[in-house]
């Protein structure tokens, strides 16, 4: 098992291993293995396409949590310049699970805010697996208000299993911190663009996700509850997570179809991490397009549009 590949990717991992083995042999000897390598590479590409063309919702949710997936600070590094991280909520602490600061994208200054996961065990624990506490949300709110004061657009990158369910988080008002952000973002006088880059975990994701243009990466998810959590409650069996994932409709294309998001950004074959350069290019283009669109609108009509979009959320019958 190659830990850099998910279960359903193992056939691709096996082929890739064989290819690199052949390459090494080719270097060592006079054998001409080029044809064979080319044949296997074509096969690997085909296999990737066929596996990824029919991913289940549950497989997509594993992709969204892929350990090699780019995180917020990777996007900052690849898409932006002049990043200055701003810390702390001015009330209690700095939360490393949610980062933010000023940066330039294509020369244009903005406020970027996002959940941050860790790569290795130590960083994962420091970043609390990307699960913010109230001070994280309050920092985000502070940075958004700063952005609005200086008429800078806000870009939020969403990637969290959810807000942290811990005793300290409850003591300091996790509910209030999330609610306050929803309230502030609904009416924040500057454009807000949001992009789900990995896991859009419920209220913890929405707390930085109220926006004028909501995008999702092809292999990201956005859900009211994790498939495991939903399965445990409604099926009374966490092993039914694949069924729950399907029923919840957590994938980008499905949510686009339902009118809940504005745009799906495609990813390279096999996911963002398999071809970072190409991926970053298309994300950058999408962000710039969204910024152009929202910044072109007069502020009053932008805010009115944001409000009406929020009011239109929901499906019900009116028998009047």
């Amino acid at each position: 098992m190659n830990p850099n590949y998910l279960d359903f990717e193992q056939p691709i991992a096996d082929l890739e291993a064989k290819i690199s083995e052949l390459r090494l042999m080719g270097n060592d000897s006079n054998l001409n293995l080029a044809d064979e390598i080319e044949r296997l590479q074509a096969k690997s590409g085909q296999l990737t396409r066929s596996i990824f063309s029919k991913l289940s919702a549950w497989q997509v949710s594993q992709m969204a949590r892929h350990p090699q997936r780019p995180y917020t600070l990777d996007y900052v590094k690849h898409l932006m310049t002049d990043f200055v991280e701003l810390h702390g909520d001015r009330a209690f602490a700095d939360d490393a699970a949610l980062v933010g600061g000023l940066a330039r994208i294509d020369g244009r200054p903005l406020m970027v805010i996002g959940h941050q996961k860790g790569r290795d065990t130590r960083e994962r624990s420091r970043r609390n697996f990307g699960m913010p506490r109230p001070e994280g949300y309050r920092k985000a709110k502070r940075l958004m208000e700063t952005a609005a004061r200086f008429k800078l657009p806000v870009l939020t990158l969403i990637d969290t299993p959810g807000a942290f369910p811990g005793m300290d988080a409850e003591e300091r008002g996790q509910s209030e911190a999330i609610a306050r952000n929803l309230f502030v973002m609904a009416d924040l006088p500057t454009p807000i663009v949001s992009l789900v880059i990995g896991e859009g975990g419920s209220g913890g994701a929405l707390a930085i996700g109220v926006s004028d243009h909501l995008m999702m990466l092809r292999y990201s998810t956005y859900s009211v509850i994790s498939p495991e959590g939903c399965a445990a409650i409604l099926w009374k069996d966490a092993a039914k997570a694949p069924d729950a994932a399907e029923a919840l409709g957590i994938t980008a294309p499905r949510l686009k179809e339902l009118g809940l998001i504005d745009e799906v950004i495609d990813e390279p074959e096999g996911g963002a991490h398999r071809d970072l350069a190409t991926h970053m290019q298309s994300v950058k283009a999408a962000i710039l397009r969204a910024l152009d669109q929202t910044e072109a609108m007069p502020l009053a009509s932008l805010l009115e549009r944001r409000y009406l979009r929020l009011m239109s959320m929901g499906q019900f019958i009116d028998k009047s």
Binding site: A179, L258, M311, Q315, K319
Partner: protein, 295 residues
């Protein structure tokens, strides 16, 4: 009864067993002090135990019946009904769950709003029906809350909302999550127009409801000993791997941590809220002689 149950003092013994031996509906045992209470007396007392003051859960219609003055009353947004857009199905179909909940509660969904008066103060009183799918918030709850809020805006009268909810309604998937944003957004308008929004947190107020409309009141009131929080106690116990302290996430805990303004017993809420909104609206003090003597 086995030896272990015999050892236990009667009030710790399985509640279900005791309940079954009592004729349905006539006598009710207080879930806290185990006092046996005459059900009509308990009803008059709004489901608050007259012996120990414990607040048992009360349906939203009964609650508003006690809360509002007898006249006038106008129920709002009665035409809004749920629909299973996603054809959601777990072990049961969502459609069937809705039908069952509608049959057992007589409500269309988990939220009602009534325009009326409290001690003469005009206001809109609204709230969650916890017996309807755990008071979960789906599209109908969000829409009815928004309509109640808009009516409050139009008439410049306060909105009072009694919370009682397990959180977002999973069967409506992301639509239910978005109700958090929708309900919070409408409150920005009330705030701007100076229309008071009074929140009463009752047992239980959790998850997505707690993390949106329930925490945005101009005044935050809690009922005694209500469970209020973002994450459920079991989820937190699994995360921290220890048993939570007594009283964790209860109203008194929230008051101590600065998350609510006050704890007000159910029987005093009419007077407290009428007084609060009369001051926020710069009205003369409410006519307290109208307080129901039975209350």
């Amino acid at each position: 009864m086995n030896w272990l149950q015999k050892l236990l003092p009667s009030r710790i013994r399985t509640e279900g067993m005791v309940k079954k031996t009592i004729p349905e509906g006539l006598w009710i045992k207080c879930t806290e002090c185990a006092a046996v209470l005459y059900s009509s007396e308990l009803e008059r007392n709004q489901q608050v135990c007259p012996k120990c003051g414990h607040h048992m859960r009360i349906g939203i219609r009964k609650r508003l019946e006690h809360f509002l003055d007898a006249e006038p009353r106008e129920e709002l947004a009665t035409t809004v009904e749920p629909v299973d857009m996603l054809k959601f199905r777990d072990q049961k179909k969502y459609r069937d769950r809705l039908l069952l909940a509608q049959r057992t509660t007589g409500e269309k969904d988990a939220f009602i709003a009534i325009k009326g008066r409290v001690l003469g103060e005009p206001l809109i009183a609204s709230g969650f029906d916890f017996s309807f799918m755990g008071g979960s918030m789906g599209s109908v709850v969000g829409e009815k809350f928004v309509r109640a809020a808009n009516r409050a805006l139009d008439e410049k009268i306060p909105l009072v909302t009694f919370m009682a909810s397990g959180g977002a309604r999973m069967q409506e998937a992301l639509f239910s999550l978005m109700q958090m944003a929708k309900t919070s957004a409408v409150l920005t308008r009330l705030s701007k127009e100076g229309v008071p929004y009074i929140v009463v947190l009752t047992d239980p107020t959790m998850g997505g409801v707690s993390a949106s409309l329930a925490m945005l009141g101009d005044v935050q009131i809690a009922e005694p000993k209500a469970l209020i929080g973002f994450a459920g106690p079991r989820v937190i116990e699994q995360t921290v791997r220890e048993v939570l302290p007594e009283g964790f996430q209860r109203s008194e805990f929230l008051l101590a941590h600065g998350m609510v303004d006050m704890i007000v017993p159910r029987l005093e809420q009419r007077e407290t809220i009428a007084n609060l909104v009369s001051m926020l609206k710069k009205h003369p003090a409410p006519d307290r002689s109208a307080l129901n003597s039975a209350v």
